[in-house]
Amino acid sequence: MRMTDTPTPALDRLLQLLERPDPLADVDFDLEAAQLDAVRERFADHRARIVLVDKRATDTGIDSVESLADVVPLLFSHTAYKSYPESFVTAGRWDRLLAWLQTLSAVPVGHIDVSGVTDVDGFVERLDAAGSHLLTSSGTSGKPSFLQQSDLDVERGAQILTALWGSPPRIPRSREHRVVQLGPARGPARLVYAHRAKSDAWSRPGASHAFEDEPLRLSEIMAVAKLRKRVAAGEATPGELADFESEAAVRRIRMDKALHDLVDVILENRGEPMLLTGLWRQLWDLVEIARERGIPDGTFHPDSVVGGAGGLKGAVLPEDYEAQTRAFFAPARFVKVYGCSELASSSPICEAGRYHVPPTLVLLMLSDDGETLLPRHAGPVTGRVGFFDPALDSRWGGLVTGDRATADFGRCECGRPGPTIEDSVVRYSELGQGDDDRLLCSGTIDAYIRGLVRE
């Protein structure tokens, strides 16, 4: 069911580019002008449908988007999506959580019946059944963000992903692969939807695998938040803390088992084309298991593609783990993308090692404070990364990230047009170590809570 019938001709024009042999290169019209049209179209549409967009527009006096600079004051940061009071979840005030979600959603959610919901997973399921397929992501604090996703968003997300994942060169949508994800098969996460889209586009019947028995359970993640709150309030008992530690250990064992089961499938079928995604530390575990079984490097199918993601938290890996992993999977190709969970489109890396922002995504290079649009010309420009994603139907596509990067709006060495982003993106939070000793005497209870982060 499509939640909206708003016509989006400017966006449709951009989406059509995705169906070309090389969506990153085959543009035969003025992309910048077409993107501005799509932003303008989306702003008019979303201002009428998203309360927070309307408020921001009113507060900043932006009534129309004449140039991309006008959209800068309207960008959200990731905090918007986790701005709900945590007590709504910990105290089970689902109607209030729904009211919060409504302020950020372009589709109505207020009517959804949340009576009888007992935990956050139940809340997510109830919304899913009603056509709101929430995406979540969580930081180390354990407070997840909630991102609205309509049926149309899911459909479009799949179209965009299967046009860009593995590009360049593009992987034709033909069901000749085995598709494996070292992660959950179900749950409100972007990677779950990605796996589904990849499987639908590329997997042979019966050749799609993920952790079938380990859905992503938000309540497990939120248990950390709940416990943090109890520790902060001085209410948690030592027994509770000990139970938490042992439950975490049990969870790790379960995940290890799920990984080992999939490793068998991968190694047995390594002679056929496979699309594999997982965290680097999972891929490294796989390499070690394979070596124990005497499997040499370089025995994978040449049409295989491997996507490695971050997640080295707490893992002790050899310094050259990445090179060793690549050698093991050779001659399979490795993909690398730059993206954020808040957006539908990610930017794949090219042969020359630069991320190409796809035509369905508008790159906004901003001053470090995120307030001013930087010039959009050929040559390096460094600042805070912002995006506008006009493809998003049920939530706002304007985002200012916490990343600092160097971009170039000119043509890339690989021959394709820009904009491109250099492979040297850093988080602002990791910069400025010189400020470590800008000492204040003020602080929060967070400094008094030890060791309660999600593994």
Partner: protein
């Protein structure tokens, strides 16, 4: 990233302006085989030196303090007026009466610093006790110049040797005070007891060398979780941590506030005093106000509080820095949620009041106060924790009813609303008597 350098380095009371060269680590320790320079100086004489230093700071004939105030204003973004105000009162830390009061109440008198205090036990056996001069490294916080002044006053009174590690956000105050001291008492043992230098916090090349019991007895660390965590690695037998922990503060307001229109206005102004100390960067700045009353009364109070936050105060600007974008966004969303939340004020730095049924998840900064209605003040004591420093209460008569529960929850200081600023000499700071913790207690038992 450009290298941070203190404009002036003080090494054992002498000015060493050679900023180009690295730190001379050898010059930063006082060998243990020599007594501390001021070890034999009577407390009365030390107080004289401090009093003269304070008097000269007050007059500031060399313009040293004024220059430090200007530098502080430009490096912290505080208004020049606030920097000037906070420096103008700095001499009071060296008021001889205040210093005597500290020695009297924290240690029971100067005799135990100047010599061995006789002791007779329950069984009649005699002994003597001495507050021996300590060797301390102070890792200073830089959000208020009082931190440097108090550290120097306390350090001098305990007669030990003191290496002050300057914070990047206040490279000026401690050197300016020590230079002033060197002017009034050149080469005096107290003057020679202090060094003030900068190194990047966490720099192991410096810290792993200096933070050893062979050179220092204790590390006195102010605020900043990261700073305490990095330094804590060096704590071990013979090298102890004295921590002025990172803290935050709250206010509790009883229904008596609404007795008259005037009292409501006055309470709003008192709360604004407490909430805006150094534009809410201090640990004493209130961030959450738990308030008794009817919804209408509380909302009227929130509106009045927003007006009060938007006024100049001695250490606050009518318009401070605009709220960080992420905080603004979080509050923007809450403001759209109808009755559950109320917001007054603006995001531009004039101050903001957020009323919510439960305390908000974010840490209110930039002159933001979260007003939380409570049925009774005793209910609010549950919101104090081990991170709570000061609790301002109105009316003062109700402190008695809640102070035990607040202390039980972890709070350290209960004051009458409006009195959060300034630690009173002779009382505790962050739950302990600083002079008492600074010294090394030694006994001679018969």
């Amino acid at each position: 990233m450009s290298r941070i350098e203190a404009p002036v380095r003080i090494v054992k009371g002498g000015v060493s302006a050679s900023a180009d060269r690295g730190l001379d680590l050898d010059a930063l320790v006082w060998p243990r085989n020599e007594p501390c320079p001021a070890g034999a100086t009577p407390v009365a004489e030390i107080i004289e030196v401090l009093a003269e230093t304070g008097a000269r700071m007050r007059e500031d004939p060399s313009g040293r303090l004024a220059a430090a105030a200007a530098a502080m204003a430009s490096s912290t973004g505080l208004d020049r007026r606030i920097a000037d105000n906070s420096y103008a009162g700095l001499w009071r830390v060296f008021d001889p009466e205040a210093l005597r009061c500290q020695v009297e109440h924290e240690l029971g008198g100067s005799d135990v610093l100047d010599g061995w205090r006789p002791f007779v036990g329950h069984d009649g056996r005699t002994a003597a006790v001495r507050a021996h001069p300590p060797r301390l490294i102070h890792v200073l916080a830089g959000n208020a110049p009082g931190v440097a002044a108090m550290s120097i006053a306390r350090g001098a009174l305990t007669k030990g040797v003191h290496l002050l590690k300057l914070p990047s956000n206040d490279l000026f105050t401690a050197p300016a005070i020590l230079e002033t001291m060197a002017e009034v008492a050149p080469d005096h043992p107290v003057t020679r007891s202090f060094s003030a230098v900068y190194w990047r916090g966490g720099d192991t090349a410096v810290e792993s060398v200096l933070m050893r019991p062979q050179y220092f007895d204790k590390l006195v660390a102010w605020g900043g979780e990261a700073a305490i965590r990095s330094a804590a690695g060096y704590i071990g037998p013979g090298f102890e941590l004295v921590a002025f922990d990172p803290k935050s503060s709250i206010s509790l307001i009883g229904r008596e506030a609404w007795d008259t229109e005037e009292s409501m206005t006055r309470v709003a102004s008192l709360l604004a005093d407490d909430a805006t100390i150094f534009n809410q960067e201090a640990c004493t700045s209130s961030r959450f106000a738990y308030v008794e009353g009817e919804p209408g009364q509380i909302d009227a109070f929130c509106a009045e509080l927003a007006r009060a936050l938007a006024q100049d105060r001695p250490t606050a600007s009518a318009k401070a820095a605009a709220l960080p974008a992420e905080l603004r966004e979080e509050i923007e969303v809450l403001s759209l949620m109808g009755e559950d939340f109320g917001t007054w004020g603006d995001f531009e730095g004039h101050g903001l009041v957020v009323r919510s049924a439960d305390p908000v998840d974010f840490h209110p900064t930039g002159k933001t106060v979260n007003v939380v209605p409570v049925h009774r003040l005793t209910d609010a004591t549950a919101h104090a924790s081990v991170a709570t420093q000061t609790v301002g209460v109105f009316p003062p008569g109700r402190k008695v009813e809640i102070r035990d529960a607040l202390a039980n929850a972890g709070a350290q200081r209960v004051v009458t609303l409006g009195g959060a600023m300034g630690m009173r000499p002779g009382l505790t700071h962050d739950g302990f008597y600083p002079l008492h913790r600074f010294v090394r207690w030694v006994t001679d038992e018969d």
